[in-house]
């Protein structure tokens, strides 16, 4: 499955208000679920962050977890107006965040496959210095689509 097909314009916020890591995660989760379900996801994501930051370096973070609260794999993307502290592995602030939530039952391990793909795409984004390039959610999806095609061609 293409990564771009899992993205939805409504869940791409390219002008996310900068704030604490938890507040930014919260805002992205609330674009997927509300209330009790959202709180469960946030608790699990924060527990994951306690294990080590999902800030993979060079300005990108990929918070992720499985949760009972979702029926299918869900992705939200946020780009903060100013870089925020995410306690990343390279200690650099983060401005692009891919948030991934998968259901516990996940035949074919789509979750780990998608997570792997996002890591690859994120590396391409940083390598080509594209974090700030897309101006709209449509442009963002189109960029991911192009990067994905490029990666496939290389294989």
């Amino acid at each position: 499955m293409n990564l771009s097909s899992l993205l939805s314009k409504k869940r791409i916020n390219l002008s996310l208000k900068p704030g604490k890591k938890e507040a930014v995660i919260r805002e992205l989760v609330y674009s997927i679920k509300k209330g009790e379900d959202a709180e469960l996801i946030i608790s699990t994501l924060l527990k994951r962050e306690e294990l080590g930051s999902t800030g993979i370096g060079k300005g990108i973070a990929i918070p992720h977890c499985r949760s009972l609260a979702v029926e299918k794999l869900e992705i939200a993307v946020g780009r903060t107006l100013k870089p925020i502290n995410f306690k990343s592995i390279d200690k650099k602030p983060v401005s692009l965040i891919f948030l991934i939530i998968a259901p516990p039952q996940d035949p074919g391990n789509q979750y780990l496959i998608t997570l792997g793909k996002i890591v690859q795409i994120a590396k391409e984004i940083t390598k080509k210095n594209l974090i700030q390039k897309p101006k709209t959610p449509e442009e963002f999806i189109s960029l991911i689509n192009d990067l994905e095609k490029g990666l496939k061609r290389r294989k």
């Binding site: 379900d37 527990k47 994951r48 993979i56």
Partner: protein
């Protein structure tokens, strides 16, 4: 104990167990997410603390189911238990606020909020 709080602890325990499983999955580590052993032990401790917050009988059921099926909780979708894919009796479908188990496989049922 307050039923809502018990349900919240149960759901978080289940999500944490999935997190622990993923961390131990070689494919996960291959992606590049390294987890230090110390952090892993801390998470296991938190998991056990959460288990202790459940009523003793429920904690025992949860652990027994986890041992047997790996995943002790199964979501309900369109009246089916997603653990064993059996249709649930109609009378159970009105009890989505309670902690109940699937009459077929015994997993704890979870109704997602609509």
């Amino acid at each position: 104990m307050n039923e809502d709080l018990t349900q919240a602890h149960l759901k978080l325990l289940f999500d944490l167990d999935n997190l622990i499983d993923d961390m131990e999955e070689p494919k996960y580590q291959k992606i590049g997410f390294k987890v230090e052993n110390e952090a892993r032990l801390l998470l296991l401790r938190k998991r056990n603390d959460l288990l202790k917050k459940l009523p003793k009988e429920l904690a025992e059921i949860y652990e027994r189911l986890k041992k047997r099926y790996h995943q002790a909780i199964a979501p309900v979708e369109n009246g089916f238990c997603l653990g064993c894919f059996q249709q649930l009796p109609t009378q159970l479908l009105t009890r989505s606020q309670e902690i109940i188990t699937c009459p077929n496989c015994g997993r704890i049922l979870y109704w997602r909020k609509k």
